[in-house]
């Protein structure tokens, strides 16, 4: 074996080992959560409210709360983010101002989530008098996920070939008709991926909902968007640290449900993306 070939072999093995190392923590985490939590998963656990100081019963209100928060977040961040990205990519001229906006969007995603939580608390809960409510929590989470939605949409729009726009404009279509019919449809898969990723993160965040929506213990379901709710990540924090004599398997079971929820969302996006990719033929 020549020296060059040997070096290639070594590089191959090293790179492969490092790649393997990336999967190990993920697999271990999931395995650990399932192993410790699966025993507590039952029909009762996912359909009943907690009882006896949360040491018994289920986590149904927290599941509902998290789902409502994800939906609320999507309702705000998807239209806002997509429209803002359309403006930035298709309409805004390239000048100092738009470059500043783009830079801010990128940097917004680097702000710690607890800062968003504080902002949401002062802005939505206190200043806009929404109280600790689903509405305030969704808005806070939406602001947190906005940069990811905008960045993903921006990249998806930019990856649509320029020629599609030229064709449409050259036929006398207006700018909006062009965006609507010849650009957006081909950007949908990218937009979906970005949105679902950001929603997955929103579903798992504790800090932004801490002061804006999450209830410590609220065994009934919310009646309006101005109600508080329990949410899975906060519930997990509460039962893991705030309640004495809590069976450990309940914590892991809650974590398992949270992971499963995020996984289901990702699965939905993968299916949708595969559906749209079949149409991608250029």
């Amino acid at each position: 074996m020549s020296a060059a070939k040997l070096r290639q072999q070594i590089a191959f093995i090293v790179l492969g080992a490092i790649t393997l190392f990336v999967i190990v923590p993920i697999l271990l985490t999931i395995f650990y959560v399932i192993k410790n939590g699966i025993g507590a998963i039952s029909w009762e656990f996912i359909t009943q409210p907690p009882r006896n100081g949360m040491r018994q019963g289920g986590i149904f209100p927290a599941i509902v709360g998290t789902i409502l928060l994800v939906i609320g977040t999507m309702l705000f961040s998807l239209p806002l983010g997509v429209l803002a990205a359309i403006y930035l990519v298709e309409y805004a001229r390239d000048n100092f101002f738009t470059r500043l906006v783009k830079l801010s969007v990128v940097n917004l995603s680097g702000i710690p989530s607890i800062v968003y939580g504080l902002f949401g608390f002062t802005m939505f809960v206190l200043f806009l008098r929404l109280g600790t409510s689903i509405l305030a929590g969704s808005l806070t989470l939406a602001i947190m996920s906005l940069p990811v939605v905008i960045t993903a949409t921006k990249e998806a729009l930019e990856s649509v070939p320029l020629s599609f726009r030229e064709i449409s404009l050259s036929l006398g279509a207006t700018k909006w008709q062009t965006v609507r019919h010849c650009v957006l449809p081909y950007a949908v898969p990218g937009i979906l991926t970005g949105t679902v990723l950001s929603l997955g993160r929103a579903a798992g965040e504790t800090a932004p909902i801490l002061f804006t929506v999450a209830a410590f213990y609220l065994p009934r379901l919310p009646r309006s968007v101005f109600d508080q709710v329990m949410a899975l990540p906060y519930h997990l924090y509460v039962i893991s640290t705030q309640v004495p004599n809590m069976p450990l398997k309940l914590s892991f079971a809650t974590a398992f449900v949270l992971i499963a929820l995020v996984f289901l969302m990702n699965l939905a996006s993968i299916i949708l993306r595969a559906h749209y990719r079949k149409k991608k033929i250029w």
Binding site: E166, S168, L171, G172, A173, Q177, K280
Partner: protein
């Protein structure tokens, strides 16, 4: 018979940033003729073409001065989408949308407000027939347009342009990506369209200009060097630079 000018440019100058690409070009293009534009690369041919339907403005650094008339109308008074409906363009490489053959053709009429299956079917059929593509695709209108051959795709682009009923059709080196047989078909189509449309053909291929066009303009470094009847340009050019280019001494 005095030919009627359908496009008239007066001192048309174009620049991208600090780079002047076209210098004070004034010329007339007559109704129903095929006007050829020849010249080496970077002579401003494509810029001239794309100035006519304002596609140059997609580049934000683009600036333009001078006047362009469509018939009697100064094109400054027309909005972008109305102007582009009247002056269609065929791009260098066949550019089809990744949708069906039918939808490619129906897209233009749709954005201009045509509705109803029957109306659209009629428009699509007429356009495809005029582009001499109908017989080849009538049984597979719902297939993706990208499955057509290069020459068929280019004729589909012509049909797509015809579907919005333009007065003028611009061709930007329409055969640069095509084999000789497909090229011949596209050229045939152009000849057939002469009856109803004015066509402007930018080409790198002087032989193609000689075959297809009736009058010709020779562009060099942003100047319109010479304009005249195609046979005259090719047999006894007045300017030495034209002669040099045509006889292959440069370009």
């Amino acid at each position: 018979m005095v030919a009627e000018a359908i496009i008239r440019t007066i001192d048309l100058s174009c620049s991208f940033g600090s780079l002047t690409v076209l210098k004070k070009v004034s010329l007339e293009i007559y109704k129903n003729e095929i006007f050829g534009i020849i010249g080496p690369a970077n002579s401003g041919k494509t810029t001239f073409l794309r100035a006519l339907n304002r596609l140059n403005y997609l580049n934000t650094s683009y600036r333009q001065s001078g006047e362009i008339f469509l018939g009697e109308q100064n094109t400054r008074t027309l909005s972008d989408n109305i102007l582009r409906k009247k002056i269609g363009i065929i791009f260098a490489l066949p550019q089809v949308l990744p949708v069906s053959i039918y939808k490619n053709v129906a897209y233009g009429p749709k954005v201009h407000g045509f509705k109803g299956k029957d109306t659209l079917n009629q428009i699509v059929e007429t356009a495809l027939k005029r582009a001499y593509l109908w017989d080849e695709v009538k049984d597979r209108l719902d297939e993706p347009a990208v499955r057509l051959s290069g020459g068929q795709q280019q004729r589909l682009c012509i049909a797509r342009t015809l579907a919005v009923e333009p007065q003028v059709i611009l061709y930007d080196e329409p055969c640069s990506g095509l084999d000789p047989i497909s090229t011949a078909k596209v050229e045939d189509t152009m000849q057939q369209l002469k009856e109803n449309y004015t066509q402007i053909l930018v080409t790198n291929n002087t032989k193609q200009a000689a075959r297809v066009s009736e009058r010709c303009g020779f562009f060099l470094m942003g100047d319109l060097v010479e304009i005249g009847q195609t046979p005259a340009i090719f047999t006894k050019p007045r300017d030495k630079r034209t002669d040099d280019y045509i006889s292959g001494r440069f370009g």
